[in-house]
Amino acid sequence: MSELIVKGVSRTFPGVRGGAPVQALHPTDLDIAKNDFVTILGPSGCGKSTLLRIIAGLDRPTTGSVLLEGQTITGPGADRGMVFQSYTLFPWLTVRENVGFGLRERGIAAKETAEIVDSYLDKVGLRGFENHWPKQLSGGMQQRTAIARALANDPKILLLDEPFGALDNQTRGLMQELLLGIWEREQKTVVFVTHDIEEAVFMASRVVTMTARPGRIKSITPVDIPHPRHYTVKASPEFSELRLKLTEEIRAEAIQAATHS
């Protein structure tokens, strides 16, 4: 059964200063099953982040609707955790307080909160940094905290908007393994937006590619590489084959995006 159903969702932004309205997203349908790991891959400005923000409830669709477990989404909520590309830890809270933010907002008892926070700090390897301010952490550590903060809330679905986009290549690779490891152990429905093809293939059970603006789903590619995935699968023939296929699909869109902008 589909946990998340995107039904005919489109988004048109009103024109700026009398300009023509811009359609960012064509009417789009997408079904995501429970515990699926879906990556959405597309060139910059293809509307993939817009789609994710609509699922999060941070933006409203112009047409269509999104259903989570049969309920229409009308706004943001704790059942859809989100990790942003920009560093969004609350700078006035320590790492521990950041991870406990959602639990405290929901009125969970302090003792239980502390236990949950500790377990997620362990999972993302941030023990020993509980009392640091976000400013004192590296970019990778900040995003690990942001992942722990989203997961500590136990959302039904985890949304990630190019979460590793601002990190250097080596850190990004480690973060992918960390997130995938957590997913393999705990099972969670994940929607992960990225423009990095290798990242999209490595993480996903299914890769959704999108066309240039206005965005539309171009293809859905299952990734049948078995779990647990070690980083060495990136060098395997089946991985290379998928990467080549997706590169060609995205390349055509990137060329179109570059010539029409």
């Binding site: 942003f84 969004t88 006035w92 959602g102 301010w133």
Partner: protein, 257 residues
């Protein structure tokens, strides 16, 4: 000198003191050298003697106490009113639309021009002094707080919504803590302005306070006393500024981490 090149702590303090030394030297040369008539400008030594006379014989400490009390009273009163209104305006756009035009207009009304009216309404007692400071500060604080709150990073607000925060929760747990340092900085700034208003209020209708002493000394041509009064105001300002900065630094350590 290379732009933006930092300097050491010791050099910073020495240079800061150096300018005070230069200032007092210039003043001494002008007065002791006979370039300025003592009727119009007292020399530093006379100023100090006048100051000691004021403190020991004239009960000037009491005047200082009165003025400090008025500034603090009026300032606390306006902060208590203005900070919540400013936060509400910054957070809720209909409230901003309702109040912003009026507050922007009122901000330009000079507090000192209200003094004659306030004397009619409230007499020349303490209430009138507090009201002058209140009128001078309240609109400034409202507007500056509202601007800070409006400029809160949107991604932090969005993140808190995806973590299940309610609308009230966003105000309480994101908008207020995120802007607390800016609000404190606004208060520090406006406190400096409140000192100007209180002196003006005391110059016009008062029977105590630093401003009252200054206007009395003018009648006696005691320029040394006037300058001493002005310097006392400067010193108190410096002390309160330093105290404010120290408290802010310890309250908002996360900013400096």
């Amino acid at each position: 000198m290379r732009p933006l090149e930092p300097i050491g702590q010791q050099a910073r303090i020495l240079l800061g003191i150096l300018f005070f030394v230069l200032f007092f030297s210039g003043w001494s040369i002008a007065t002791f050298g006979g370039f300025v008539s003592p009727t119009f400008l007292a020399d530093p030594i006379t100023m100090l003697k006048d100051g000691i006379y004021l403190l020991t014989e004239q009960g000037f400490l009491e005047d200082i106490g009165m003025t400090v009390w008025r500034v603090v009273g009026g300032f606390v009163l306006s902060a208590l009113v203005a900070v919540p209104i400013g936060i509400a305006m910054g957070a809720y756009k209909p409230i901003e639309a309702l109040l912003e035009p009026f507050v922007s207009f009122s901000r330009y009304l000079p507090a000192s021009a209200f003094i004659p009216l306030l004397i009619l309404w409230a007499g020349i007692g303490e209430l009138q002094k507090l009201l002058v400071i209140f009128i001078g500060s309240v609109f400034q604080i409202i507007l500056m707080v509202s601007v800070s709150v409006s400029a809160t990073r949107r991604d932090l607000v969005e993140a808190s919504y995806t973590l299940g925060a309610s609308d009230a929760g966003v105000v309480r747990r994101v908008l207020i803590p995120a802007n607390a340092p800016d609000i404190a900085e606004t208060l520090r700034l406006v406190l400096g302005w409140a000192w100007t208003y209180v002196i003006v209020a005391e110059l016009i209708g008062a029977s105590s306070g630093i401003g009252y002493m200054i206007i009395n000394s003018q009648a006696l041509m005691a320029t040394g006393q006037i300058i001493f009064g002005i310097i006392v105001i400067g010193i108190i300002g410096l002390i309160s500024d330093f105290a404010f900065k120290t408290v802010n630094r310890s309250l908002f350590a996360w900013r400096l981490a």
